[in-house]
Every structure is written in C-alpha cells, then in structure tokens.
Amino acid sequence: MKSVVEASEAVALAVKLARVKVCPMYPITPSTHIPERIADYIFDGEMDAEMIHVESEHSAASALIGSILSGARSFTATSSNGFALMYEILPILSGMRLPAVMAVANRTLAAPINIWNDHSDAVSARDQGWIQLYAESSQECVDTMIQCYKIAEDKKVSLPAMMCLDGFTLTHVFENVDVPEQAQVDKFLPAFTREDTLDVNNPKTFGPIGFPDSFMGFKKQQQDAMTAALDVIKKANSYYKKQIGRGYGDGLVELTDMGDAEYAILGMGTLCGTAKAKAEELRAKGKKVGVIRLRSFRPFPVKELQAAVKNLKGLAVLDRHISLGSNGPLFTEISAITPELKLFGYIAGLGGKDITLKHIESVFTDLEKGKQSREWLM
C-alpha cells in the first residue's frame, strides 16, 4: 500500500511484516522512533512479538543470542554510543553464526557529544563479521530490512546483518513509501528455522572455547560465508524485484548515469541522493558524470566495484567517517582495488554537517580539473 511514512516507521513496518518474534530494545536518539512504533504494533495487537525492555544496548545484543538460539526471528535497533556499548557482543553474534538483524540509525560517536548523522558507529565495526547494507530512502528501508532476514538466514550465510540508515537525514524523513502486502512478504521470506536450538530434551553446547588448532578454521568459515553472501545479496535483490517489484542496482552496488560517465562520485547512504540530483542537473548541461552507491559495505564487492569504475577518468570517494590517523575507510579500500584510477578522497558530513548540492558540485569540478581543491567538505 502506498502512503507517506517516516523512515523509522518504514523500518518498524518491515519488522512487523517479517513476523519478527523477539525485540530486545533500548532507545537512543535517533533510532528511538523504531522501538516506539514496534511497541505500538505489539500493544495494538497488530504484531505477535515480545519486546524485552533491557537495561542497556549490551543487554539488547546479548538477549539476541538467547532469542535466536531458541529459534525466534529477532530484531533490535540502536545508534552511536549505544552501538558502541554493544560492541563486545557483535563478534559473538557473528562468531556463533546467529542471523540477528539490527537497524543502525547512524549517528556519530561522542565527544564532543553530537546526536547527528555520520557513519562512525557502524563503519568502525566493519571487522566484526556483520553484513552491512546502507539504505538511501525510506522505501529502501522497508525493502532492505525484509531482505536482511532473507540474506542473514540463508544457510550459505548464517551471519548477522545490520541495515544502516542515516540518523535524522533519513530516520526522521516522511516520504512516499509503497509498503508490500503481508502475503507478498510471507512468500518472499519463509518462517525462520534453526537446526541447533536451546532444547532441554536435546541439549547442546553453545559458545564453547575454540582452541588455537580450531579457531582459524572457524574464522575461515566466517570469511567463506561472507564471500557467499555476495551472491546471496544479489539473489535476494533480484528475487525481491521479481516478487515485489523493486530492486537496487545488483543489490551490492547501485549505478546511476554510469553508462558513459567519465567522472563519478562514490558513497553510501543518503549523500548519494543529493549526488544523483546534482549529476542529473550536470547531465542536462552535457557533463558525463555519474554516481556509484555502495549498498553492501560488508561483504565488500570488489569485482562489481572494479567493473563500475573501469571506464572512468576520475573517481571521488565521499566518506562520512574518518579513521583518525589514516583516511576515510571507504577511500582506503577503494584505493586498494583500483590502482590505475585517478582517485580523490573527501571527508564529508561528519556529525550532521549537511552535504549540499554545492559540495557535490565542487567535487565534480575537482574531478574535471584533475586537481583536488580540499579534502574536507566543511
């Protein structure tokens, strides 16, 4: 059904449509509207689920372990320092191969204390074995949330997944959303089943010690699962498109105006929307520019990105995070896979700094001139 909803509500609607059974939640700005809406659905009897009012984000993530081990499809949401408090449990969920799904309303990490958007929280957890998909619109939030369960629970993957949406810049935006019907989602996403569950009649040991002779074997399995996830994400995207009618590029990377593009901007999340708007305007003036939106940051789609930049004369990478003492993490990773390409890295939109059409235009100008005028879009 088409309507105008807030992106946070779009996430909550997707959680309801996915027939999630357990939601351990702890509120933090700007993710709070998500648990609020879910609480409404449960209270109104529209959603048959248990919301656990935990005492911290660390507990929320810990409760996910128990709920998934007992066979329940589970969900939580957080932001920023709340996400940081979960950190200890993130690699445990992925190491135990539990397909938790979390919405991260991206917000920077204090200090100075700041409630606004950048990707510091999620990107700094890139090595913890979670799939990370970044959404650009409220519509994509609904679609991607549902796909996250499909991907995470795939037997070839069995890994937790986070869907990242820009705090405020997306979470608090009302826009047109086409919410799929329950029957469509049920067909796309079958009920969650698990072979190993907490069962008093069939006891098993979960979370045992991994000695040095087996530990690397387990890590290799996780890496293989991440590699397998590349294909599973693509298939989830195309299957969703076939069933429900919407897709986002090949699921990993979304290309806009890239056919004959000479210069392009690469980024994640909402900044790509502004970049698309500027690219469209410049295209009308005859400039051959395009936008590459990385939807899947983990797993990192090397082949797809290399193919996307193959014919470019120059590429600008916009990082909404900085690895202090190094560079924008996205820039570093793109540099490693495109040794021949002229590449500019920009730090942009930290702590809610608006990324404007003017910023984007200055980046395209830099690319055309072949000279980077500045590294920080302030």
Binding site: S158, D196, P203, K204, F211, D213, S214, G217
Partner: protein
Amino acid sequence: MTKVQRKETVGDIKAQQIELNLGAVIKKPGSSMDYHTGSWRTFRPVIIQEKCIKCSTCWRVCPDAAIFVDKKGRYNVNYDYCKGCLTCVKECPVDAINKELEEK
C-alpha cells in the same frame, strides 16, 4: 562438516578429530565427561569415613562436582575428575579429609 586433526597431545586431550560445526556448536551433550582432569593433582583428598558426619560441605564446595554420595550414603571423591584443589580439605568442619601426596 569440515574437521581439523588435532596433532599434538595437550595434557589429557588426545589426538582427535574436532568437528568445525557451524558457530562451534557442540552437538553431543556432556562431552567434557571424556576429559579426565584427575591427572592434574599433586595432592589427593582422602575422606576418612569414620570421622565424616555427612554434613555435605565437601559436596557443596567442590568446584568440579567431583564429590559423590554412594548407595550407602557415604561421601566419596571421584578421582577421574578431582583436580586436587583441596578446598574440601580446608572446609571440612570435622577435619575428616586428609591430603596425601599423589603417587605418579
């Protein structure tokens, strides 16, 4: 499921096949029963049945659950699992448990 061969023998862990189950789940319950830690002892606790008042203190304090009550109601030590920590010796209210040097 892939398996790795454990090559060295560490303590009582004998060379064995370790199953790399998804998420390191151990599917067979109670597998630690096969792991005898009795050889770790320097001293062994010995219960003197004549002095024992059957207060169950040793049974409660044993960190390895290595004290058991036999059919006649007597308290005994399971030397397959007792690591020789001697907590029971220290806690026994009537000094009914002796420590003896383990003979290898």
